[in-house]
């Protein structure tokens, strides 16, 4: 799980071009959207593609993304419980 979280942080930084952010700046339990990293709905769509590309997980409804993308931790939990 720890590894997955660290990898996710790196992938998020790369996908969203967060040039000023280092992996250790991201608190795995902190909210990704609004406060925290201050991501928005376009980032959410980028993360949906990240999930599909790197983990083969397809989110069909944008609505479902809300719970999954609460924090890096919730994202990691979703991946480990859904990955085949």
């Amino acid at each position: 799980m720890e590894n997955l979280i660290e990898n996710l942080k790196k992938q998020i930084i790369e996908q969203l071009n967060l040039a000023e952010v280092k992996p250790y700046d991201i608190d795995a339990s902190a909210p990704l959207f609004g406060e925290g990293l201050g991501l928005d709905s376009i980032d959410a769509l980028e993360l949906i593609v990240l999930l599909e590309k790197n983990y083969g997980l397809k989110i069909q409804e944008p609505k479902d993304a809300k719970n999954i993308f609460q924090s890096v931790k919730t994202l990691a939990e979703y991946i480990s419980s859904h990955k085949k």
Binding site: S41, I42, L45, I48, V49
Partner: protein
């Protein structure tokens, strides 16, 4: 005063105004299986395609080996019809302009050749026709219009701005006559773009329905001939409608999403009413932007609610017939708004069954004949916060 003396259109519901009217009166949508666009998604989605191949469009226009791309041909066909309906044979008799609108211009052509270019194996020089404004250059040249030619590209509100600009050029005494509208051909670029935003409905779109899932893309073109009072009098022109109001504002909320209360939409409608110089209760029908996305329809409903308070006029989104034709949408819907006035008919918002939870607004869902329609408000909003509203009136 700015008068509409000619109209022309081509879209999924017809290659001219009379076919368009028939489809509207028969509640027959043009959205269906994808036949022409070569995308891997074609079997999983529907779209409002103009049901002619590039070659067939060229034949319709009476051209041979024109080398025009799909956007240019759609633009040319609708312009031709508009000029004919306005009885214009010579574009050089008055100070005449051509103002078009497009979001992707020659993309439908470029995207087919880009791979060869990337593989260092180009077989055609497509860059000169790729530019979004290039179709306007070609169409203006075709009809001999030289006094003023430009193209507007403000995403899905583009054609509304072209129409508004034409009116202002006449009101500022820069032009006497101007052909205004927009054209966009379906292409893989836009199709995949909207798909990444996850706002495409795989089935028929359901604008203003609580269970709406997104929009259907469409393609087409429409143009209006606008003329000044002086020209109309001198030529004893038959007036089709009056462009009585226009407004442009920016939502300045988000790159793509509309604000929850539709601030930009509200401001655009408010400005259009100010220019028309009448109260909102004169509006008999609203041709809504109504794309069928969760965000647009809620936001637009909120803005309409805030403008019209307790007297919400009948409204519908005719994108359920044509699909969302992007930069051409506002001009196609301008033609539909004018048809609504001419026929005293409100065309229905198809596929809407369940009222939205967050509003009491509900569109007209069946054809309403014999309804007096004197003033129509038409809304168009786009990425980048661009919001525009037009008001068409009976002369």
């Amino acid at each position: 005063m700015v008068f509409v003396t000619g109209i022309g259109t081509i879209s999924a519901i017809g290659k001219n105004v009379s076919e368009t009217l028939s489809s509207l009166l028969e509640s027959r949508t043009g959205i269906g299986k994808i036949n022409h666009l070569q995308t891997i998604h074609k079997d999983n989605y529907v779209a409002g395609e103009v049901n002619y191949s590039l070659q067939e469009l060229e034949n319709l226009a009476g051209l041979k080996n024109s080398n025009y791309n799909r956007t240019t041909l759609l633009s040319l066909l609708a312009t031709q019809e508009a000029l004919t309906s306005a009885g214009i044979k010579d574009a050089s008799t008055y100070r005449t302009g051509f103002i078009s609108a497009s979001s992707v211009g020659g993309m439908s052509h470029s995207e087919l050749l880009y791979k060869d270019f990337l593989e260092h194996n180009p077989h055609e020089n497509f860059i000169d026709t790729h530019y979004t404004g290039a179709h306007a250059t070609d169409v203006a040249k075709h009809f001999g219009i030289t006094d003023y030619v430009t193209t507007i590209s403000t995403a899905c509100s583009s054609a509304a701005n072209a129409i508004m600009l034409g009116a202002r050029l006449i009101n500022n005494n820069i032009l006497d006559r101007v052909i205004v509208g927009g054209a966009d051909a379906l292409c893989k670029f836009t199709f995949n773009g909207f798909n990444t935003l996850m706002i495409l409905d795989k089935e028929w779109c359901k604008p203003f329905d609580n269970n709406r899932k997104g929009l259907n893309l469409g393609e087409g073109a429409a143009y209006l001939v606008l003329e000044s009072e002086r020209v109309v009098k001198a030529e004893n022109k038959k007036i089709i409608a009056v462009l009585s109001g226009y407004g442009n504002a920016n939502d300045a909320f988000h790159q793509t999403a509309s604000s929850p209360d539709g601030q930009g939409a509200y401001a655009a409608m408010q400005k259009a009413l100010e220019v028309a110089n009448f109260f909102s209760n004169k509006i008999d029908y609203i041709n809504a932007h109504g794309t069928g996305t969760a965000n647009n329809d809620s936001s637009e409903a909120a803005a309409i609610q805030n403008i019209f308070k307790k007297n919400i006029p009948p409204f519908s989104s005719t994108k359920s017939f044509t699909g969302h034709t992007l930069a051409a949408a506002a001009s196609i819907e301008a033609v539909i708004s004018i048809l609504s006035i001419q026929n005293n008919t409100i065309f229905p918002n198809l596929n809407c069954v369940t009222p939205m939870q967050d509003t009491t607004l509900f569109p007209v869902t069946s054809l309403q004949k014999n309804t007096e329609i004197n003033h129509v408000l038409s809304n168009s909003f786009g990425f980048g916060g661009n919001c525009s509203s037009l008001i068409f009136s009976r002369n």
